[in-house]
C-alpha cells in the first residue's frame, strides 16, 4: 500500500494545510507510510523529515472529530515541560505530542507530531525479553534497565504535574532509545487531561495493566491508574518480563487463570507477604530487588489504590540506582550489574535456568538409559558377575532372603475363584483411586 501511494500517484487528498500554535498556516504534501493504528494512519510530510502526520480514519464520526480537534488544539497550546535531557540528546522525542492541526479542505483531519526515529528506538516490549532485546542490538543489564525505568517514571511524573495522565500505559505504547535510554510515549492524543480550563476523558484501557479498582468500571483516578501500570512495567523490566500477577494457582478451580482476574482479586505472589492463592513463578528474581523497591511494589500491588506509590515516588526510589555515581548498582563477582548489597539477579536467573536444564538433561539421560541399565543389572545378577561389591551384595541378599512361597494346596478351580475376587478387588481399587 505504501508503494501504491507514492508521490507520483498522490491525489488531492494528500495535500493538507498545517495550522501551527501561533496561528501560522502552511501547505504540505503527505506521503503514505503504510503504518496505521486503531484511530488513524501515519503519513510522512514532504519537506519536514522531523515530523509525521496522524490522519484519523475516514470513518471517524464527525462528533468524534470535533472532540479530537478541541483536544488537539488545547494540547498544541499547552505543551508540558518534560524532564531535562543533555544538550547532545536534544533530538530525542520524549512525547509524540501534537505540534500543529492538519486541515484538508478546511476540515480537521489530524495533527502533526515530531517523528520518533524508529531506527534508534525499539518498543519497551522488547526489553521484557532479553533475547529479543539482543536481536535488536541491545545488551540489557540492570544498570540500563533501571535507567529506562527511571526515565519513564520521570516522564510520567512531569505529565501528572500538569494534570495529564496516560491511562492506557503499556509497554507497546512506549519506545526506548537504544543508546540514550530515554523513553518516548506514543498515542498522546489518547491521554486523559484534567486541568482548570480543559478536561478530556481517556476511555481506552488494557486489562493486563488496569488497576484492580477500575476493572468493570470507568477509570476514576487516572494518575492512580498510571501508577499501577508504571509499577507493573517496572516490575516486568526488572524481573525478566514476568508480570507481577503471573504465577501458579494453588487452587485453579477457585482462582482466576487470566491476568485481569488475578489483578482484580489482588493475587500478587511476589510480595514480602505473598498471596497464598497464587505461587510465584520459579524463575522470578524479585528477591534480588532492594528493600525500598520491594516496599514500593508491595504498596503498588498488594495494598489498596490509596497507598499506591505515585510516579514521583518511583523517581525518588530509582534515582539511587539510575545514577552511576550513587553506587546503588555495582558489579557482582561475575561482572553482572546488580543492586548493591543484594544477590545478583542475573546469576540467580542463570542458576535457576541452568539448574532446571541440568535436571532435565539428567532425567532424560536416565530415562533413555534405563532399559539398557536394567537389562545389564538382570544379566549380571543371573551370571553373578556384578563388578560393584554393593550391587553384588544386593543381588545376593535378594536371592537369599526372598524365598518364594510354596504352591497353594488348592485346586485350579479354587484358585480361579480366588483370582476372580482378586481382579474384582483391583477393579474396585482402580475406581477409588482414579
Amino acid at each position: 500500500m505504501g508503494k501504491a501511494m507514492s508521490a507520483v500517484e498522490r491525489t488531492p487528498d494528500h495535500f493538507a494545510r498545517l495550522i501551527w500554535a501561533d496561528g501560522r498556516a502552511e501547505q504540505v504534501t503527505l506521503g503514505a507510510t503504510g503504518r496505521s493504528g486503531g484511530a488513524g494512519e501515519i503519513f510522512s510530510v514532504d519537506g519536514k523529515p522531523g515530523f509525521v502526520a496522524k490522519i484519523y480514519h475516514a470513518a471517524t464520526p464527525a462528533a468524534h472529530l470535533a472532540r479530537y480537534r478541541h483536544k488537539i488544539q488545547w494540547m498544541i497550546e499547552h505543551r508540558p515541560e518534560l524532564p531535562q535531557v543533555p544538550a547532545e540528546y536534544r533530538d530525542i522525542v520524549q512525547l509524540a505530542w501534537p505540534e500543529a492541526l492538519i486541515l484538508r479542505r478546511s476540515r480537521f483531519v489530524g495533527f502533526l507530531m515530531q517523528k520518533i526515529a524508529f531506527d534508534r528506538t525499539f518498543e519497551l516490549d522488547y526489553l521484557l525479553n532479553r533475547r529479543q532485546a539482543a536481536e535488536e542490538g541491545f545488551d540489557a543489564d540492570y544498570g540500563k534497565l533501571v535507567t529506562v525505568a527511571f526515565n519513564l517514571a520521570s516522564l510520567i511524573s512531569c505529565l501528572h504535574a500538569r494534570g495529564i495522565a496516560i491511562v492506557d500505559l503499556k509497554p507497546m505504547n512506549v519506545k526506548v532509545y537504544k543508546a540514550e535510554l530515554y523513553v518516548s510515549i506514543l498515542d498522546c492524543d489518547g491521554f486523559h487531561i484534567d486541568t482548570e480550563e480543559f478536561r478530556s476523558e481517556a476511555p481506552q484501557v488494557t486489562p493486563e495493566y488496569l488497576a484492580p479498582e477500575f476493572h468493570e468500571k470507568a477509570v476514576g483516578h487516572p494518575e492512580s491508574q498510571d501508577a499501577f501500570a508504571l509499577a507493573a512495567i517496572i516490575f516486568r523490566l526488572l524481573n525478566y518480563g514476568i508480570h507481577p500477577f503471573t504465577g501458579v494457582a494453588s487452587d485453579p478451580r477457585n482462582s482466576p487463570t487470566e491476568l485481569a482476574g488475578r489483578i482484580k482479586h489482588g493475587l500478587y505472589p511476589y510480595g514480602r507477604i505473598a498471596s497464598k492463592k497464587v505461587r510465584k513463578v520459579p524463575a522470578s528474581v524479585h528477591e534480588a530487588f532492594p528493600e525500598p523497591l520491594r516496599e514500593l511494589f508491595d504498596r503498588a500491588f498488594a495494598s489498596s489504590g490509596y497507598s499506591r506509590p505515585a510516579a514521583h515516588e518511583w523517581v525518588e526510589a530509582l534515582k539511587a540506582y539510575a545514577s552511576k555515581q550513587s553506587g546503588g548498582i555495582s558489579p557482582c563477582e561475575k561482572g553482572h550489574l546488580r543492586f548493591s548489597g543484594r544477590p545478583c539477579p542475573t546469576c540467580m536467573r542463570d542458576a535457576l535456568i541452568q539448574g532446571a536444564e541440568v535436571r532435565r538433561r539428567s532425567f532424560l539421560a536416565r530415562v533413555q538409559t534405563a532399559p539398557a541399565r536394567t537389562l545389564k543389572y538382570v544379566q549380571r545378577t543371573l551370571r553373578q558377575t556384578h563388578s560393584s561389591p554393593f550391587q553384588a551384595a544386593l543381588a545376593q541378599a535378594q536371592l537369599i532372603q526372598l524365598q518364594l512361597a510354596p504352591p497353594a494346596p488348592i485346586s485350579t478351580r479354587n484358585a480361579i475363584a480366588l483370582e476372580i475376587l482378586w481382579i474384582g478387588g483391583l477393579l474396585i481399587t482402580w475406581w477409588w483411586t482414579r
Binding site: P252, Q403, L404, I410, I420, I428, T433
Partner: protein, 181 residues
C-alpha cells in the same frame, strides 16, 4: 458399558467365584478385607453405574483417601485384635516370610496407606487439577506392580494348569477317538 451388561458380568463372575470357592477356613483378616472390599465395591458400583446423579461433587477428591485410609485402618486394627496380618493376604501368595517380617511389612504398608491418603488430600487442595491427576496416576504404579506380581506368580501358573488340563482332555479325546476308529 451399559449398566445391564456390567450387572450381568459381575453377577456371573461372583457366581463362579462362589461355586468354585475354596472350602478351607479363612483367617479373620481375610474376611475383614473381603468385607471392606465388598462395601467399597458396592459403593463403586452404585456411584459408577446406578446412581441417577452419578458421583457426589465432593467425593472425587476424597476417593483415594477413603480407600487408603480404610486399608490402613484394617492393617492397624486387625493385628491389634489378633486377627492376623492383612498384608499377608495381599502379598502372602508370593513370598515365605517369618511372622516378625510380616508384622513389619504390615506396619510399613499401613504407614504407606496413611501417608498416601493424607498426601492425596494435600495435593488435591494445594496443587492444580492437572498436578493432582498426575499424582493419582503415579500412585497407580503400585497397582501395576501388584498386577505384575500376580501375573508372574499366580495367573501364569493357573494358565499353565488350565492349558495342561485342556491338553490332557484333548489327548484323552484323541486316544478315545483313535481307539474307536
Amino acid at each position: 458399558m451399559s449398566p445391564v451388561t456390567a450387572t450381568v458380568l459381575w453377577t456371573v463372575a461372583l457366581l463362579i467365584a462362589w461355586l468354585w470357592r475354596p472350602r478351607q477356613a479363612a483367617t479373620p483378616s481375610g474376611w475383614i478385607l473381603l468385607g471392606a472390599f465388598a462395601a467399597l465395591g458396592a459403593g463403586a458400583l452404585w456411584f459408577g453405574l446406578y446412581a441417577p446423579e452419578g458421583e457426589p461433587a465432593g467425593l472425587g477428591f476424597w476417593k483415594p483417601t477413603i480407600l487408603y485410609w480404610t486399608l490402613a485402618a484394617i492393617m492397624i486394627v486387625v493385628p491389634w485384635l489378633g486377627g492376623g496380618y492383612p498384608a499377608k493376604i495381599i502379598l502372602g501368595t508370593y513370598f515365605a516370610l517369618s511372622n516378625r517380617q510380616w508384622r513389619w511389612i504390615n506396619r510399613g504398608l499401613a504407614a504407606v496407606c496413611v501417608i498416601f491418603g493424607g498426601v492425596n488430600l494435600w495435593v488435591a487442595h494445594q496443587s492444580s487439577l492437572k498436578d493432582w491427576e498426575g499424582f493419582k496416576y503415579s500412585l497407580m504404579i503400585f497397582l501395576l506392580v501388584i498386577v505384575l506380581f500376580r501375573l508372574n506368580f499366580v495367573w501364569l501358573p493357573i494358565l499353565a494348569d488350565v492349558c495342561i488340563y485342556f491338553y490332557r482332555r484333548a489327548s484323552a479325546a484323541y486316544r478315545y477317538l483313535s481307539s474307536r476308529l
